[in-house]
Amino acid sequence: MTTRIDTRFAALKAEGRAALVTFVMAGDPDPSTALEIIRALPKAGADLIEIGMPFTDPMADGPAIQAAGLRALAAGETLHGTVDLVRAFRAGDQNTPIILMGYFNPIYIYGVDKFLADAKDAGIDGLIVVDCPPEEDDELCKPAMAAGLNFIRLATPTTDDKRLPKVLSNTSGFVYYVSIAGITGAATPDFGKVASAVARIKAHTDLPVAVGFGVKTASDAVAIAKGADGVVVGSALVDTVKRSLDADGKATSTTVSAVTALVSEIAAGVRSVKK
């Protein structure tokens, strides 16, 4: 089984550069603006798109992504809405990989089998579900892989060499290395440590390794892109959405362009690193 994620990483490897993975929240600040933002991302330089599934209790996320999720929920976003969002995006883009990222409960309540079928049908390529570690693989990971979706696992600074094979065993698409022991959007990582962690993971797997958490600027992205196969930017983008809103929290004429401007800047940084 080859997914859009596999195809994209293979193409970028041939091109000799790292991937830019952009995270935005479904339904933030409202469903139609979120669709506009996501439609504009590939042209701005995003190679893969992660879309957050809003949840009331995002235990691994910092204030920026917590707030983005709450804005989306307040604007009426649901998991069904998020699946439809991808379906609408897919109508105009058959190639950019789409990964949904979030927490298990909304998927569990949607119904795992129904969700996986709908996700596949809508053109979703992979899932990152923060609170489904390898110990709970029967819940979602294995059914997702059987349904033809990539299940992308997080490896963290606390995942030692002994545990790494377990984390990698049912992982596909790529490995998401969490650069810090912490929540999203927190401290800037120590780039030297990240590079050695990426090398350590690569010794255990042939999958591409993307790095996220704490990547805020083009220069952060350049530093990460030297060693990793992908750079994930999330909190910086949802913060940009937030700053573009008017006093009532509504989208303005600059919301989409502010996000694409930052993505272009970071994409230029990622593309400047030749491998």
Binding site: F55, T56, M59, D61, N105, I109, D131, P134, E135
Partner: protein, 406 residues
């Protein structure tokens, strides 16, 4: 044939993956997974070490004040005119609630693991006070996460924690109550993995917490069992306890689960009534989902978004429940009832006036149903109600509800 009839024992859970039937589990971020595996290993070793139990027993006797009395509530019994009502007086423990039983166990474990910084979430503040107390006793740094709403309605406990040297972090995310305090504590733990021990206050969270907290609280039921045998020469006929996360209840219930003659009742907080939507009754008004590391009954909307719980009692104001209770509910071994805010207020006054014991609002929920159940039972029926906390912390908010003190 019901599930209850097919089980040999209700006391063998959880299985090795941390499940009670379909409930429980380890739904945590990868960063925390190695930590909870370490914790499980350390707890298993401590559980098998007589020195750990001896240390805990010594602190129970000399610091906590155990065993807590099993008190025959004579005037309450006369007033009701039915079953003989006994109160298991865990409100007499040091710090005024059952919470210290669990905290003591976890802090002794944290010390064995070489952890120097303790974090906790708290709702009513009782678990926060117990944690701050034990940290003061052992010279450990203590950080307590408490929803901003709860900081406001539980001021006396906030002050106590500060006196004990704890740092209180008011939580402003989400609904600003217990569930959000738990989210924030988990975020802290993810960010401070080297030196920090997360002391969870109830029998919920990822495995091994529900099992470990239950084990530490089971001292309540073990004592009550012995005390009742000594007093009446036989086991009680029924048990009643209130349930938020459910740690005092599972502590009382667990040693009796295999005694088929003992009827067991858990009492959830119905707030303004389960039908009103403003309640904290996960079993009576929720359905199974996944939050805070475990699968259990939760309050949520049709999209799987967690709902805000409501209860007059900050300690019961949680949209979930410990996974073992979810399993005991499904198997039918325990019957789960509920009590509204106003019924709890009445019971609060009733016990104060008849027995000279001001209960916390949490066990007042249990008293309300206990009185009703007792009235339907014969006079030789023996009932134990878990009086898991004292009401000092609640007098101001009760006064507000009752229209001030005269």
């Amino acid at each position: 044939m019901t599930l209850q009839q097919t089980l040999n024992s209700f006391r063998t859970g959880p299985d090795e993956t941390g499940h009670f039937g379909q409930y429980g589990g380890r739904f945590v971020a990868e960063t925390l997974m190695p930590l909870i595996l370490d914790l499980e290993k350390a707890y298993t070793a401590a559980k098998a070490d007589p020195a750990f139990h001896a240390e805990m027993a010594s602190f129970h006797t000399h610091y906590v004040g155990r065993p807590s009395p099993l008190y025959f509530a004579e005037r309450l019994t006369e007033h009701v005119g039915g079953a003989k009502i006994y109160l298991k007086r865990d409100e007499l423990n040091h710090t005024g609630a059952h919470k210290i039983n669990n905290v003591l166990g976890q802090i002794l474990l944290a010390r064995r693991m070489g952890k120097t910084r303790i974090i906790a979430e708290t709702g009513a503040g009782q678990h926060g006070v117990a944690t701050a107390t034990a940290c003061a006793r052992f010279g450990l740094k203590c950080v307590v996460y408490m929803g901003e709403v709860d900081v406001e309605r539980q001021k006396p406990n906030v002050f106590r924690m500060k006196m004990l040297g704890a740092e209180i972090v008011p939580v402003v995310s989400g609904s600003k109550t217990l569930k959000d305090a738990m989210n924030e504590a988990l975020r802290d733990w993810v960010s401070n993995v080297e030196d920090t021990f997360y002391c969870i206050g109830t029998s919920a969270g990822p495995h091994p917490y529900p099992m470990m907290v239950r084990d530490f609280q089971s001292i309540i039921g073990k004592e009550a069992r012995e005390q009742m045998l000594e007093r009446e020469g036989r086991l009680p006929d029924s048990l009643v306890a209130c349930i938020g996360g459910g740690s005092n209840a599972i502590g009382l219930f667990h040693p009796f689960l295999d005694d088929a003659s003992v009827e067991i009742f858990g009492v959830e907080a119905a707030g303004h009534g389960v039908a009103s939507g403003a309640h904290a009754a996960s079993l009576n008004g929720g359905r199974p989902g996944v939050l805070h590391g475990n699968r259990t009954y939760l309050l949520m909307n049709e999209d799987g978004q967690i709902a805000e719980a409501h209860s007059i009692s900050a300690g019961l104001d949680y949209p979930g429940i410990g996974p073992e209770h979810s399993w005991l509910h499904d198997t039918g071994r325990v019957t789960y009832l509920s009590t509204t805010d106003s019924e709890a207020l009445e019971a609060f006054q009733l016990l104060s006036r008849l027995e000279g014991i001001i209960p916390a609002l949490e066990p007042a929920h249990a008293i309300a149903r206990a009185v009703e159940i007792a009235a339907s039972k014969p006079k030789d029926h023996l009932m134990i109600v878990n009086l898991c906390g004292r009401g000092d912390k609640d007098i101001f908010s009760v006064a507000e509800h009752l229209g001030g003190m005269e």
